[in-house]
Symmetry: D2
Subunit: 355 residues, 4 copies
Amino acid sequence: MSFNTFGRAFRFMTWGESHGPAIGAVVDGCPPGIALTEGDVQPWLDRRRPGTSRFTTQRRELDEVRILSGVFEGRTTGTPISLMIENVDQRSKDYSEVAQAYRPGHADYAYDAKYGFRDYRGGGRSSARETASRVAAGAIARLVVPQVRIRAWVEAIGGEAVDPANFDDAQIDANPFFCPDAAAASRWEEKVDAARKAGSSLGAVVACEATGVPPGWGAPLYAKLDSELAAAAMSINAVKGVEIGDGFAAAALTGEQNADAMRPGADGPAFLANHAGGIAGGIATGQPIRLRVAFKPTSSILNPVETISRTGEAAEIATRGRHDPCVGIRGVPVVEAMVALVLADQALLHRAQCG
Amino acid sequence: MSFNTFGRAFRFMTWGESHGPAIGAVVDGCPPGIALTEGDVQPWLDRRRPGTSRFTTQRRELDEVRILSGVFEGRTTGTPISLMIENVDQRSKDYSEVAQAYRPGHADYAYDAKYGFRDYRGGGRSSARETASRVAAGAIARLVVPQVRIRAWVEAIGGEAVDPANFDDAQIDANPFFCPDAAAASRWEEKVDAARKAGSSLGAVVACEATGVPPGWGAPLYAKLDSELAAAAMSINAVKGVEIGDGFAAAALTGEQNADAMRPGADGPAFLANHAGGIAGGIATGQPIRLRVAFKPTSSILNPVETISRTGEAAEIATRGRHDPCVGIRGVPVVEAMVALVLADQALLHRAQCG
Amino acid sequence: MSFNTFGRAFRFMTWGESHGPAIGAVVDGCPPGIALTEGDVQPWLDRRRPGTSRFTTQRRELDEVRILSGVFEGRTTGTPISLMIENVDQRSKDYSEVAQAYRPGHADYAYDAKYGFRDYRGGGRSSARETASRVAAGAIARLVVPQVRIRAWVEAIGGEAVDPANFDDAQIDANPFFCPDAAAASRWEEKVDAARKAGSSLGAVVACEATGVPPGWGAPLYAKLDSELAAAAMSINAVKGVEIGDGFAAAALTGEQNADAMRPGADGPAFLANHAGGIAGGIATGQPIRLRVAFKPTSSILNPVETISRTGEAAEIATRGRHDPCVGIRGVPVVEAMVALVLADQALLHRAQCG
Amino acid sequence: MSFNTFGRAFRFMTWGESHGPAIGAVVDGCPPGIALTEGDVQPWLDRRRPGTSRFTTQRRELDEVRILSGVFEGRTTGTPISLMIENVDQRSKDYSEVAQAYRPGHADYAYDAKYGFRDYRGGGRSSARETASRVAAGAIARLVVPQVRIRAWVEAIGGEAVDPANFDDAQIDANPFFCPDAAAASRWEEKVDAARKAGSSLGAVVACEATGVPPGWGAPLYAKLDSELAAAAMSINAVKGVEIGDGFAAAALTGEQNADAMRPGADGPAFLANHAGGIAGGIATGQPIRLRVAFKPTSSILNPVETISRTGEAAEIATRGRHDPCVGIRGVPVVEAMVALVLADQALLHRAQCG
């Protein structure tokens, strides 16, 4: 079953394929009276936009968003907000090879197994182009929780991580990698260039931090904040792992090492550590929310790989055309958007139950 | 907002606290006509039951399940199946210390921040005792997808991993650690005993594999199979990380290394690797589904930790009483149950949309 | 697909069959800190309880409710509230006739058509016994919206209506028919007695009014307050019609006749009429919410009716045993409960979106 | 809370306002492989289109639908289907009066009470223009259940009903009233004309029948087929009442009169009556599904009505501009669409649970 809606109180649904006329999102449940114009959404889309450096796909999309409903005289009305982005640079000329053989790592075989056929042009619905809709919806989510600051960055590319000692917030938007470590950014430039020229691709880890989340957002168990964030992050194309706080590292600790001790603070507890990533029992503690997200390397590579055809015969396939050498890079604004969408939802849910 | 239901077509809801009279689950949407008695559920509960070795909590619960509805003459009727397990060994005598001060790592502070107060007896709703309800519901889920075999095991305790070369399926149920490597089990015995005697605790990694999942189950994007499994696993108490397939390791690979090449097989493709953990584009490929789940160390430890009281004053707290020295161990049957519940749901959803 | 959950923010799920060991409901999403004991629920159950007059089924159920979770020290904790009522007077001795042939008007044939078989004892899941669970859950809903007063009554039995001129609120609980018109109650006594003695049954119309609902609750379109109330009422056994405000009578009016004109009032508008039943555009106007619900006559009758057997042969069936001669009478507390459940849900939803 | 999605397995969401640039719907969960082009949707929209006779609003909308996603090479792909209809004849010039005072019967006051302000141009989101989106989505729903035939008609206008003896299926699309009785259509012509010229409006009753629904679709209790249909119908603008089968008339019958007796039939039971409207216990019996829907008179009337202004002062308001003298007439294709949407959903849900 196709489920293209996310959220419980603040909800959004996305639609659209890589090579259709347009993509879009509909946001439902947004509080009324929030100032909103296209100008509040566009900057976030521009940040995700392809073709801005040689390290992303060369597809030229303007990603101009239109708001088609739900806003009157510059304010949200409380009714559904329809967002549309036209696709302008689809090149669907020649997909005969992809139509006939399955690209390993891509959704090709699985879609055919599920649906019997697929829109093979640029990956159809499975294309990361869909994430523009999330970024647009996420821009609205940010306005619902203005007290929260969300920032993500690339923490590692191809196994090469930033040095925490070099972390500089100002660097994140100063290089094409969303890299907070200027020295690492230089090394990545070489690394990603090499992969790009070789027709190869690289995986990446994206880290994200949300500050300003008040203690109490979240819920026990099946809507644990950890669980909602994990579902949100894992719903992004190419994501295969999620950690909250110390994540897998916590599994190697003792209870003493992992305890986030508290002292009396100015306003609630002053925590001495944040192994839990700001969430205990599924509920925010008021500390920064921290998560890490693993992106696999882009499955589109120039080097031919063994595969089978639609009719089950042996074949080889190499992905021609435009692609991101490291899809994780453009994952940064998408992870931020998904975190914003989860937090806006949690803010409304908390208000519903706890006033 | 409290959300205690999981699933879309095959759904379950759990209720109950650690020290209430009982806990339970209601399963809704189960297909009719499936043979079901308490005898189909009890063995899975026995496997999770506390007090069976010195490596788990010494709380003595029989965990006897009763089926209160939804079954007639030994078969499911298609109506809600109510499962109840009485709590028999609650010792609520003295929780005054926990009532007054927040145990770091526990849900204590967050619950108070959200709800204004909390049931402090044994952790109330945040107790891992709730997972018995999941295991009971999961037993029914297994019957819905009898073609699927699900097995989980502990892969590492306190950072010490099994040796893949020693992997022996038969070992998993032959030691108190669900450990597939007999040599590792011996070392863990010592390690967990030491932690237990020191009043400390250890984290663990649980791995899980589901075979027999046909290609096509799952869905694109917001109900990606990866996303559903991540939400399910992350909803378990003490879980802070989830990986599908290679997970974070994939982020360090190149596209060539990560490609799961295919050759013609007897029945569909024969894959040459399974970096993707059996899921591409959110949809099962027919390969084994593989995931890894990180459990933090049990937050209950005997060594006093700095904290604050309900009224915001400096305090120290040490958890007395019974606890699991490594909560990840009993996480094994819980992870299996959650995977079964997700797959039963996906089986029905796939049938709904694709016939 | 079986869906046994109702509500979006304040949700409840029911389980149980007429002749199983127990029935129950689980309420999820209830705000924390509300004073709640069994004593708050029991009076409402007592009002619906069978066997209290000769005009209802003679089944003797105590309908004693137990709260199994979600309450601590007399207050709701914000976690699921599990309510259980044991069945004590099931007489399952002889259902061989019902097992073999379909009772017209009952769910027998439809259940078999859907599920392949059915729990035929007392109607199984389709028995109105399930409504006890709704009344229990509704008692909690009332506590969530204490500013709202909900009262329902029987407006007509077998086509004989109360006289609005005789309407006396105090009468409603003073006769076994929840009849606000003492004269009508006398006539109904005779009428229902005659039907009962003849082994026949009668339909009824239940009216309900909720006062104190603030303007703004509800929502446009797919969750219109009219729509939520209609779904709630129509989900009750034997209900086949719902009207909000003037309902079908409005279809015979002109726009002038149907307009609920307004004048300036002390606190918001003073309405000159309430054709709309307190709802405009799906949203409460602050006027009393008014609805009417049609209950068909109890399908269980002593007079034999033509039918077919499970194997498709011609048969005759007469329902022996205990039944309500007019199921609409005991529908009064059930309609009230459903209205309370909808309004509690809407209260939380409104708070979520509009603060 | 705004909820603009309907359905559980086959779902749709609508967006858009009367005077925005466009309106639309997104259909999610549609099975793959169904032949679909704009040509399958447009005829149903044309049937609902305004301005085709003097008995509907004179707003001139082409209602040309575009399919923006979810279809590839003329077949549904299983991913979301985005439908968009541009608004071309919005005349927003002068809404100053409506902006300042509340039109009785309209959503004006309630929207302001809920959201604090409103898009007053043409009723904004509360305009019946939204129903075009439903009709478009409903056209796709019909393709999911091709075995079902759905037809609706106007049964009464302003209290004047058709004569069942004159019922002629062929008449329904032969007059501007969807009236199956040619004689009644003549009388209505005069009646509606008179109302139109007087600046008044009339209510109407729409009846609908769905044949070909197999026994077994539907579900007990909270998703009773009666309940789903009632929610669907009641979600339509101006609807205030719903009946399944005999509805309120059943409340005046005895059990004997209301019993739908059965005899052995060629394929399942041959029913001797259909008081239940084809649904027993919430599940289809295989008989025709029958429902009746009450539309109140259009609230927009030329005659001035007493009201209050936004600031609470006494005022008078008369609705100028274009409107339907009897909004129930164009309700016919909308009721059909909603019934199709419910049945498509139920078809998939039944398949999910019962194979």
